[in-house]
Amino acid sequence: MTDQKSSLLKIRGLRIEGRADEKWFEIVHGVDLDLRRGEVMGLIGESGAGKSTIGLAAMGFTRDGCRISAGSIEFDGMELTSSPEEDLRMLRGARIAYVAQSAAASFNPAHKLIDQHTAAPVQHKIRTRRESEEDAMELYRRLRLPHPEEIGFRYPHQVSGGQLQRAMTAMAMSCRPDLIIFDEPTTALDVTTQIEVLAAIRDIVDQFDTAALYITHDLAVVAQMADRIKVLLKGDEVEEADTRSMLASPKEDYTKSLWAVRSFQRQQKPPAGAGETPVISVSGVSAAYGPVKVLDDVSFDIHRGRTVAVVGESGSGKSTAARCITGLLPPTGGDIRHNGQVLPASFKERSKDQLRQAQMIYQMADTALNPKKRIGEIIGRPVAFYRGLRGADLKKRVDELLDQIELEPSQFFHRVPSELSGGQKQRIGIARALAAEPEFIICDEVTSALDQLVAEGILKLLDRLQEDLNLAYMFITHDLATVRAIADEVVVMKEGKVVEAGPKDEMFRPPHHEYTDLLLSSVPEMDPDWLDGLLERRGVDNIGEAARK
């Protein structure tokens, strides 16, 4: 379908530099890219691959502290690298539009959606405010947003994440651009919501024959969206091919490793003996934030040396359950037992030893580690607090812990978190939890902020630690691939209730509870026809409905 179309975007030898510590470092090393009218190209790679930087450069835009140092970017015959800022401004929004990763952060909280939608067409004198408002409603309808006449008059915080992401796609369409840059538009969404947004984006790009650069780290997603795929690694192109041949036969080793990344899978351990007391037993727990009930009669057990994965969409109560177990949020009903003993509801009433037994690892290692403290202090503090070690003993124990998480003590002891990579920071988070020598660790979305290869390393480490120390894990995640990799038992939660629970092998085998089925079938697969097939099975017009069921 794209063969006879003319070239729209031509990038040659693009080099981009970023500034750090008063020096310029090259972050994109001479990338070429060709995009024809109406074509969708997927840009894929891990974080730091330069995907977003290249995407923004296609609009003649660089973030503060970055500059284009060489190469040419030609958009429809116009050279962007040498164009004055004012000409670029006339282009942006009007002919090239941008859809950002987090719509919640990219819509201005102070203005209604419609005001933000109409800004570009009015600014570029393409439509009057009135025409643009009517057009917005039409686009909202096409993107299957609920209440298209009225939804634009809400503020961003009054609209859900998936709807916002579609409203942002509508906003990008407001001037009927020739090219849209989609920068990870579904990464922040739940799987069920992701499907709606993917389908909506694909439809509207088709309907208006818009060309698109689709940036993502998720292969299965890009397989649904793109005509061609370009793989990037650390600012270099690895390879490029059309979607089907790329999926069928990747040429480069790096691409193959990306394809194989979901291969880690641990055998499910045999269920614990009937008489064995669980390490943590949650029975009939209910909890509320003020008048809002968030957990309703939740029960599950976690046994020594086993991993229980708690899955569900955002708002399903997964993290609240963890807060109840740790005593941060005293439950309104039910109780939590540790080795058969009822734990006090609030952490304030628990003894030091009870506190020691349940540790947490957080999603964002960035914010969970004190940026001012050195690694030795971060890990040393719980060692000193729970074990009372001082001086040389303390240092020795911290070194042991660093060894356990496979980081060389002499290299890391004196560093601060900002000098570490994302994966290394998460390892420090693990070491800090281990420092208390707990029996039970809650892992709250510990891999969702990490690239797939790095995430796999973390999962393997957690698995090995479980073997060595006989730890029990409660693994909170919305990623079913992670569940498949590491869980022994699965608890599926929805709206504060447990809808299904059981051993992993059973959970991934039909028949499922209706909701589990929806979750499982919503995980994108590495098959370019998967989305079409799914939409057909569910009936295209009611994806939204299916997801809300």
Binding site: M59, A97, Y98, S102, N108, A110, H111, R154
Partner: protein
């Protein structure tokens, strides 16, 4: 909207409690002064009999808590007692003075708030430019100079060398509005120079702090011009800190004007306060302090409410 109302009600309650605490401190501070008040007032005329009579007249023979409750009860009804110096009602003296102080503050605010916010926005828009640096240096210079010094400089240039403005701002109650503004102009400009730097720099900083936000990048990627990105997209989200610093400076315009009022012989509360302290006229001092405290608390309260209302999440709940 109900949430906002209950939040505002809570803040109001807290403000009232603060004022109560401050009133205790003001009353207590006078109590703690060394020596006997009656003896101090009588000075050389202090004989045991006159002191006793004076103590009775002042009510000093009764316990402090009783006098405090009486004083507070009166103050709540606008009765601050009688001045020791001239036996006139304190409220009667304070009322017109306070109106004058408010008038001066209003004139100064009418200049300084728009100027500093516009300057702050421009400095953020052209940050790191020559304009930004000059604005920064100029406002810093003016905030670093003592206000009496600024006042005398203004008098030197604007009323001595060029006789445009009166150097003494004697306002009277029956003055027409325009004339009143005219004579108030020099002290108002002095105050403007003092408060502008703080507000301008906060406006600039609050806006620049937001420039890395994704929604600012989005506005730029939609091709909106720079001034719109700053004024339409950044400024409304920077309002909370700006409102706070504006309120703080408004409070200063009312309670910190003592020196400026003296330089320009302006009949405001500040002058009254200084006069009363020298005359040991404690009822007046207490009343002035209480009025200042109330102003301060009220303005901070307004700032809190303003910041709450500037948050669209609270204005438009789900």
């Amino acid at each position: 909207m109900k949430d906002v109302l209950s939040l505002v009600a809570k803040r109001l309650g807290l403000g009232f409690v603060t004022l109560l605490v401050v009133s205790i401190i003001i009353f207590g501070a006078v109590e703690l002064l060394p020596g006997d008040l009656a003896e101090a007032i009588l000075g050389q005329a202090a004989t045991p009999e006159t002191v006793k009579a004076m103590r009775e007249e002042l009510g000093l023979d009764r316990s402090a808590p009783v006098r405090y409750v009486e004083w507070l009860g009166g103050a709540l009804q606008g009765d601050f007692g009688v001045s020791l110096a001239n036996k006139r009602s304190v409220a009667e003296q304070l009322g017109p003075r306070f109106r004058n102080t408010l008038f001066l503050a209003a004139v100064a605010a009418a200049f300084s708030i728009p100027i500093s916010i516009v300057l702050g926005v421009l400095a953020a828009l052209y940050r790191e430019s020559v304009f930004d640096r000059i604005a920064n240096v100029a406002t810093l210079t003016s905030i670093s100079s003592p206000e009496f010094f600024l006042g005398y400089i203004l008098i030197l240039f604007l009323s001595v060398q060029n006789p445009w403005f009166p150097s003494i701002s004697s306002v009277t109650g029956d003055m027409p509005f325009t004339e009143r503004v005219f004579v108030t102009l020099l002290p108002a400009i002095t105050l403007t120079l003092v408060v502008i730097a703080h507000m301008m720099r906060m406006t600039r900083a609050a806006i620049i702090a937001l420039l890395a936000s994704p929604y600012i990048e989005m506005a730029r990627l939609k091709g909106e011009p720079r001034w719109k990105v700053i004024a339409v997209h950044a400024l409304p989200n920077a309002l909370a800190p700006i409102i706070n610093v504006v309120a703080l400076n408004l409070a200063y315009l009312i309670t910190g004007v003592v020196l400026v009022e003296i330089v320009f012989v302006y009949p405001g509360v500040g002058q009254l306060l200084v006069d009363s302290v020298t005359k040991r006229d404690f009822p007046v001092v207490q009343a002035c302090c209480l009025v200042f405290a109330a102003t301060y608390i009220l303005l901070n309260l307004l700032a809190d409410v303003g910041s709450i209302l500037s948050n669209p999440r609270l204005r438009h709940p789900k």
